[in-house]
C-alpha cells in the first residue's frame, strides 16, 4: 500500500467525530429548550423523517426530476465546452473570435441571469436546461482551453512524425493530455450545476428537490424541509464521490498527489 493510504483513516475519523459532536450539541440544545425545536428540529427527528422518505420511496420522483435536469444539462454543457475549449486552445483564430464573448459572459453570476432567461425562454424545461447548461459550460471551457494549451509540444511533434492528421492529434493526443485539467473543471461544474438546478426548481419548478424544499417551507413543514435539505446534501456528496471514482478510472495514468 502507498505510504499515504493508511494515514487517511485517523483523518476521516476526526472529521466524522467533528460532525457527530456538532450534531450532538444541537440535539441537546433543542432538547433543553435553548433552541426552538419548531424552527430548528433536533437532528434525530430530521434523520428519522429522512429515513421515512427514503424507505417509502417518496424520495424517488423528485430525485429523478432533479437528476434528469442535471444530467442532461451537464452532458450537453460539458460536451460543448470540451469541444469548443480544445478548438480555442489549439487554433488561434477560433480563440480570437470567441474570447471576447466568453470573457463578457463568464463573470456574470448565472443565478443573476435567471430572471432574464425566464423572460426569454419561459418557464419550461428549455429554460431550466439552458440555465444549468450555461453554468456548467464556463468552468469546463476555461479548463479545456488551458489544458489544450499546456500539452507538451514533444507529444504533438511525435504524433506529427507518425503522420497523424490534425483531427487525430486532437482526439488521440491533445484530449487525453488535457483530460486532467478538464476533469478539474468538470468537478467544479458538477457542484455549480446542482446548485443551479435546485435554484431553478425553487423559482420555476413543478417538481424536484428545490421545488419540494420551497413547498415545505411554504407549508411550514420545517421537519420535512430539513429532511429534504439533508437529502440534497447527501446527493451532492454522492455525486462528487461518484465523479472521483469515474475520474480515477478515466485518467488512471495520473498519480494522485496527497
Amino acid at each position: 500500500m502507498p505510504e499515504g493510504y493508511r494515514g487517511r483513516w485517523p483523518d476521516r475519523a476526526l472529521s466524522a467525530a467533528a460532525i457527530i459532536v456538532s450534531l450532538g450539541a444541537l440535539e441537546l440544545a433543542v432538547h433543553f429548550g435553548s433552541v426552538n425545536g419548531k424552527i430548528i428540529p433536533p437532528p434525530t427527528a430530521v434523520l428519522q423523517r429522512m429515513w421515512d422518505l427514503v424507505s417509502s420511496g417518496a424520495v424517488l420522483p423528485p430525485l429523478g426530476t432533479t437528476l434528469y435536469l442535471l444530467f442532461v444539462a451537464y452532458v450537453c454543457g460539458c460536451g460543448t465546452a470540451i469541444l469548443l475549449g480544445l478548438l480555442m486552445g489549439r487554433f488561434r483564430p477560433v480563440y480570437n473570435l470567441l474570447e471576447p464573448l466568453v470573457e463578457l459572459l463568464r463573470p456574470l453570476p448565472k443565478p443573476a441571469l435567471l430572471p432574464l432567461l425566464i423572460l426569454l425562454l419561459g418557464l419550461g424545461d428549455t429554460m431550466k436546461l439552458t440555465t444549468v447548461g450555461l453554468a456548467v459550460f464556463f468552468p469546463v471551457l476555461i479548463n479545456a482551453i488551458q489544458g489544450a494549451r499546456g500539452v507538451d509540444p514533444v507529444l504533438i511533434n511525435t504524433a506529427r512524425t507518425f503522420g497523424y492528421s490534425p483531427l487525430a492529434i486532437l482526439w488521440k493526443v491533445i484530449l487525453p493530455a488535457a483530460a486532467p485539467m478538464i476533469f478539474v473543471g468538470m468537478r467544479v461544474s458538477l457542484a455549480l450545476g446542482l446548485l443551479l438546478v435546485v435554484l431553478t426548481e425553487m423559482l420555476a419548478g413543478t417538481g424536484g428537490l428545490g421545488f419540494l424544499i420551497v413547498d415545505m417551507q411554504r407549508s411550514f413543514k420545517v421537519l420535512d424541509m430539513y429532511a429534504w435539505l439533508v437529502i440534497l446534501a447527501v446527493l451532492g456528496f454522492a455525486l462528487n464521490a461518484t465523479f472521483v471514482r469515474i475520474e480515477h478510472w478515466a485518467i488512471y495514468w495520473v498519480v494522485e498527489v496527497q
Partner: protein, 326 residues
Amino acid sequence: MLEGLIRSITFAAAVCGVLASASSQAQQLTKVRVSTIPIIDTIPLAAAVAQGYFKAEGLDVDTTPTVGGAVGLPALAAGQIQIGYSNIVSIVLGNYEGLGFEMIAAGSASGDAPPNTAALFGKKGTDIRNGKDLEGKRVAVNTRNSINWLVVREWARLMGGDPNRINFVEVPFPSMTDALRTGQLDAGFTVEPFLSAGVKGGVTEIIGWPYDRIMKRVPISQYAATKSFIDANPELIVRWVRAYNKGIDWINQNSGSEEWIKLVAGHTRMTADQVRNIALPVWDKTVNPAAVEKMVDVMRMHGLLAGDHKLNVGSLLHTTATTEVK
C-alpha cells in the same frame, strides 16, 4: 466679546435642549416591525401610518414589503418582525405546525357578489372556461400553499377539474400580467389593482371569481403575531389594533377621494388612473370565527392539515381579532 461668548453658549444649550427632548420623545415610541404586501388589501395599514394613528398610540411602525404572507411569516417566527400581514391559509398552516401564530386583527375579506377584489384571469382571448380547462396548465399564484392557491384549486374542483393536475408557479402579483402577455403562463390569480389594470389595458380577461364560488365574505387575510409576543406585550397589541382600526375607518370614509387615490397609487406603485374604480375588498374590524372554520374545512378537503394532530381553531384567534378594539 464676553457677550458674544455667552450668546453662543446659550444658543448651544438651547439646541442641545431641543435635541434632547426630541430624542427622548423618540424614545417614547415603541418600534414595531410589520411585514406587508403592496396590494389594495393592506391600504388601511398604509393609511394608519400616513395619518399618524400609530404614533398617537406611541408606536413607531416600520413596514417591510414582501411578496406574500408565506414569505413574511417565517420572519415572524424568527422574531425579526413582530406583526405579519398574511393570507389565512399560511397563518393556519403555521399555527398547525406549532409556530404559535395568532390572528390579532382582520385584514381583508371578499365581498358579497362579484366583482371580487381578486380573480382568476388569463390572457385576452383565452379559452379556459372551467376547471377541466385548467388541468395541465401553468397557473400563477403569488405563493403556493396560500389562499390564492387554495381558492384556485377549490374553484377548479367545483368547476369539474382535478386540482392536482394544475401546475402552480410562483410569480409576484405585479409581474403576473406581463407573464400572461408573453405566454409564459396560461392563467393567474391576482388582486387589485393589478387585476383591473390588466383588464383595462386590454391585455387580460377574467376567467372566474373563485372567492364568490366558495362563499360570501371569505376571510382572505389577517394580521398575525406569535403567541409569545402577544403574551409578553398584550397592551401593545391592543394599541396597535386600535390604531389600525382607525386606519380602516379613514379608508372607508375617504374612499375614492384624491388623497385616497394618491395613497393607493403610491402604496402599490401604480398610476392614479390605474387605481381609480377598482373593486375593493371588505375591511371589517373583526374576524368571523365561523368563516375561519369554513376555510379550515376547505383546507382539509385539499389535503392540508392532515398530520398526526388536530388543529385547535380556538388558538387561532386573539381577543383583539374577535372583539372590536375601539
